[in-house]
């Protein structure tokens, strides 16, 4: 038997495909259910995109999102290696099911949740955010998720909780990078509690309408759009409420270069390179970097009265 690649004209456009599936689902499905042949189990409606029905909002000023192949093919996920092509090459090994997220520390109701339970907490939203890497490149990414606060509320943080620590997965059998000592594993990040509860802080479970690709931090990650990308910890296994400022992996690796806040700020350089400008992936010229990555109207009040050069 000969298998061949269909010509472009033979490929059904995705929207037509979806409509056909919808038609089959409702007509044949209804017929079969009526005939008592099958029970109307939810799995029957299989070919539904993860992000279907999510509300959509653009937080990137109408800029076109960075092409999917770049979002998934060029990023840092040091657990899989320090080259920006390593995550796309190696992260397929990551074991994401079953997955448990533990909410612990200074909370009234500590709990461990599976992905299905987390998905029940709030409706999915699509949010298009700018992402600025500390290395001087940036992207525009349509994330799928919901405000992290919807999750944090569930465990009722105690009054003594001032900070939130985010701990990423360590799977030595699937992550070649954690055998080296480039960073202190597990990858740890942290936010002040008010930063973590800010409505822009997202718990992302998908991007581009689909479940989060493994190289982008499946099955769930943090997205803090006004901070350098490394603050948005991937593949979270624990969220811990603390009284004292957590020390992140990058702070441990180079305390002079990476501070706790790591807000995007063109006026505060990395000790070794300028942060005044950035190259949007897909563009040739560089563009000026915006204070708080352009989210100053929403977040600047969190830092009023603070010396941002001192609290870098």
């Amino acid at each position: 038997m000969k298998t061949s690649t269909p010509s472009p004209a033979e490929i059904t456009p995705p929207e037509v495909y979806a409509r056909r599936r919808e038609f089959l689902k409702t007509s044949i499905g209804a017929g079969l259910v009526a005939a008592g042949a099958v029970s109307p189990a939810p799995t029957f409606a299989a070919p539904r995109k993860f992000g279907d029905g999510a509300s959509q909002r653009d937080y990137a000023g109408g800029e076109a999102p960075t092409p999917l192949q770049h979002v998934t093919g060029y990023n840092n996920f040091y657990e899989f290696g320090t080259d920006k092509a390593d995550p796309a090459r190696l992260a397929h090994r990551l074991k994401t099911a079953p997955w448990q997220l533990s909410l612990e520390g200074l909370v009234k109701k500590p709990v461990t949740l599976g992905i299905e339970e987390i998905l029940q907490l709030a409706p999915l939203e699509e949010r298009i955010y700018r992402l600025r890497c500390v290395e001087g490149w940036s992207m525009v990414i349509p994330w799928l998720g919901f405000p992290l606060d919807a999750l944090l509320k569930r465990v009722e943080p105690l009054g003594s909780a001032k900070y939130v620590e985010f701990i990423s997965a360590v799977q030595p059998e699937t992550m070649p990078g954690v055998k080296g000592r480039v960073l202190d594993w597990p990858y740890v990040e942290g936010l002040r509690l008010d930063e973590a509860r800010h409505p822009l802080t997202l718990l992302a479970l998908g991007l581009y309408g689909e479940v989060l690709p493994k190289q982008n931090g499946a099955p769930l990650r943090l997205v803090v759009p006004w901070k350098y990308g490394f603050k948005s910890a991937k593949s979270l296994v624990a969220i811990r409420f603390t009284e004292h400022e957590p020390r992140s992996s990058w702070m441990k690796a180079a305390p002079r270069e990476y501070g706790f806040y790591s807000n995007v700020n063109p006026a505060v350089d990395h000790p070794r390179w300028s942060q005044a400008s950035e190259r949007r992936i897909g563009e040739f010229r560089k563009r000026p970097t915006l204070l708080f990555n352009g989210y100053g109207d929403e977040v600047a009040r969190l830092y009023s009265g603070m010396d941002l050069a001192k609290h870098f």
């Binding site: 040091y78 920006k84 350089d269 300028s274 190259r279």
Partner: protein, 220 residues
Amino acid sequence: MPLAALKALTFLLCLLPLAWYGWGAWHDLLGANPVEAVTRGLGIWTLNFLLITLAVTPLRKLTGWYQALRLRRMLGLFVFFYATLHLTSYLWFDQFFDWGAIARDILKRPFITVGMAAFVLLIPLAATSSHFAIRQLGGRRWQALHRTVYVIAILAVLHYFWLVKADLAAPLLYGGILCGLLGLRVWWREQERREQLAGKYQPKNISRNSNRIIPILPER
């Protein structure tokens, strides 16, 4: 292999990295951030050619392949060629010829300071690569000048060390190879000194200069 053919082959091989980056840029094969890939790649190949050039003398001593020495000037000039392209890509694609920002970078950023210093030190070496320059300077002075290549190599590796974010594996590899290449020279020099002290040292082949670093000039 006749020397002319060897030289022609080396010349073409040395152009391959540039050809790859040209081809890759044209056909969009350099990934999401092609500008960075080109700047980085040209820097890496500058270092590669620098270490290859420094490997010529050890290679000749260890294998007795004397023809290698005849390729050294070309290899050294390719170091300068790739360094110039690397610098140009920084001035152009990174800074877009914003001379104020470039000056601040050179003063403020140690990795750029040492990179620029390495480049500036390369200029006199490239400028004195001709037979004419060697004759004008005289062998001893020429040799003393060209020993700055050791300093250049150290600065270049330092430039790489200070550039990387956290993973020092690649700069360590380059640093290790450089240590080996410089260490061999120190060791040979020390052997020579001991032989001299022991009175065993017989300057060999002085007339043909075959054991010295001074380049061999064609017969006049």
